[in-house]
């Protein structure tokens, strides 16, 4: 990657964040950051890359903003100029304010996601549109509408304090989680962006343990990116993945983070479950008892159907198939909507020795699944019995 592209990735969000704080004008701030990058593209190849590319870009962007404001002769021009020409605040990182504003719950969820990618991560509108399967025009409208609402409803540009912080931080983390999962569903660069954003958050809010836990969770899941799909692109279950291809550096970094991060919420629990899997050299080495206990905790704070289902699986491995089958009662009501529930019941039944009933259940699960590799795998399991 050339110097301007690197500088773009590393500095775009910071420049926009600071310019919004100084000018209050989102569009102006984005335009000036773009202008600064265009200037760099023109000058750096000719004059060489400056010693502090980020500082250079920030100064150029700020001067451009100042020019625009001067020419616009806005009413509070004087005030703005004073703010702009004050000390440079080189050390100040305004990205937290930007992240919290982009993820404000008064914006639609899809707008929060798009705005975060556009302004904090600095992705192009075209790339975001492609990742979310809408036209560029639609994505432009979505971004414009979100920025208009921020201005019209006066959504504040700040990190909330006190009781509001916890609630709003979960909202921010939920946006990153959605991005990461979207990355896993087939847009790998979104997973990388989610990791980058989680890193920013964990660095700027070291006291908020759930931010660090989410980063660790991402790193652990991302460590399996080369093992998750087979040559045909189909998902490979955890116990059949080639563990040699897991990214050891990612896993080591995540484990380091978890060592110094207390267990204070759902992401901490999910990260610890992922860590149990990541540290098992073979599937047989998996510490299912610890996983089952972490799932007990997780089901207490986040009793969703998926968590309850995974809890039954974990208990099935840790304490025997009948322990798992007993917990399946907790997800009985979603059996018709999630073929996975039937598949888990089939697997536990097979391991408890009732092969005939297990085969029937595998076929039932297959019939309820959409046509594809998962259905084929279920039918294969039925045939094996």
């Amino acid at each position: 990657m050339d110097a301007v592209a690197v500088a773009h990735r590393e500095n775009y969000g910071r420049i926009v964040a600071t310019l919004i704080r100084l000018t209050g004008d989102w569009t102006l701030s984005e335009d000036c950051a773009q202008d600064a990058l265009a200037t760099a593209l023109e000058r750096w190849p000719r004059d060489g890359v400056p010693g502090n590319p980020g500082g250079w870009l920030m100064t150029v962007a700020r001067n451009r903003a100042l020019d625009v404001l001067r020419r616009a002769a806005v009413e509070d021009r004087k005030l703005r100029e004073v703010a702009m020409t004050g000390p440079a605040h080189e050390d100040e990182d305004d990205r937290l304010q930007l992240i919290f504003t982009c993820c404000h719950p008064a914006l639609a969820l899809e707008a929060r996601v798009a705005l975060t990618l556009r302004t904090v991560a600095g992705l192009s509108t075209a790339d975001i549109a492609r990742a979310f399967l809408v036209s560029e025009a639609t994505m432009t409208r979505r971004l414009t509408r979100a920025k208009s609402k921020i201005a019209a409803a006066r959504i504040p540009y700040r990190v909330p304090e006190g009781d509001a912080l916890g609630e709003r931080l979960s909202g921010v983390l939920a946006v990153l989680y959605l991005l990461f999962n979207r990355g896993y569903d087939g847009e790998p660069f979104l997973a990388e962006e989610a990791i980058r954003l989680a890193r920013v958050l964990a660095t700027l809010m070291p006291a908020e343990s759930e931010g660090s836990s989410l980063l660790a969770l991402f790193l652990l899941q991302h460590s399996r990116r080369h093992a998750r799909r087979d040559a045909a692109g189909d998902l490979v279950p955890l116990d059949r993945q080639d563990r040699e291809t897991w990214d050891r550096a990612s896993i080591a970094e995540a484990l380091q983070i978890l060592l110094r991060t207390p267990v204070e919420g759902p992401y901490a629990l999910q990260a610890r479950i992922a860590a149990c899997h990541a540290t098992a050299v073979t599937p047989g080495d998996t510490d299912w008892r610890s996983i089952a206990l972490w799932y007990d905790e997780l089901a207490r704070v986040q009793p969703t159907p998926v968590v309850n289902l995974n809890r039954a699986v974990a208990h099935g491995y840790a304490f025997g198939p009948s322990a798992g089958l007993a917990l399946l009662d907790d997800v009985r009501e979603i059996r018709d909507d999630y073929p996975m529930v039937i598949a888990v019941e089939a697997d536990l039944t097979a391991r408890s020795g009732d092969k005939q009933r297990a085969a029937t259940l595998f076929r039932e699960a297959a019939a309820a699944s959409p046509d594809g590799p998962e259905r084929r795998a279920l039918l294969a399991r039925a045939a094996e019995l």
Binding site: H104, A106, A151, A152, A153, R154, I155, P156, P160, A164
Partner: protein, 109 residues
Amino acid sequence: MKYMMFVCTDTEPETDESRVPDINVWVAENDAAGRRVEGSVLAPPSAATTVRVRGGEVLLTDGPFTETKEVIVGFDILECADLDEAIAVAAAHPMAHGGRVELRPYADL
């Protein structure tokens, strides 16, 4: 920043009855803090009259401008620093618990 707060019913209320605030306390607190400029309970939609002028003629309709199951039962005009402050005021209103409250900023003209 001024916000018009529409206080509405909800056709599918899930009332959180254990913690519904007292309206008199809400009014007194926000009046004292200067966050509530004006406000009132409104007469029911059966008392509403909708007025249109078409082709120079005044047309009147008995009832609200739109037939919905949700009904605007009152309004308040808030003066708040930003949306977060307005949300905090709205969330403390008893009708946010079981009904619904819409915050609409004054347009910046």
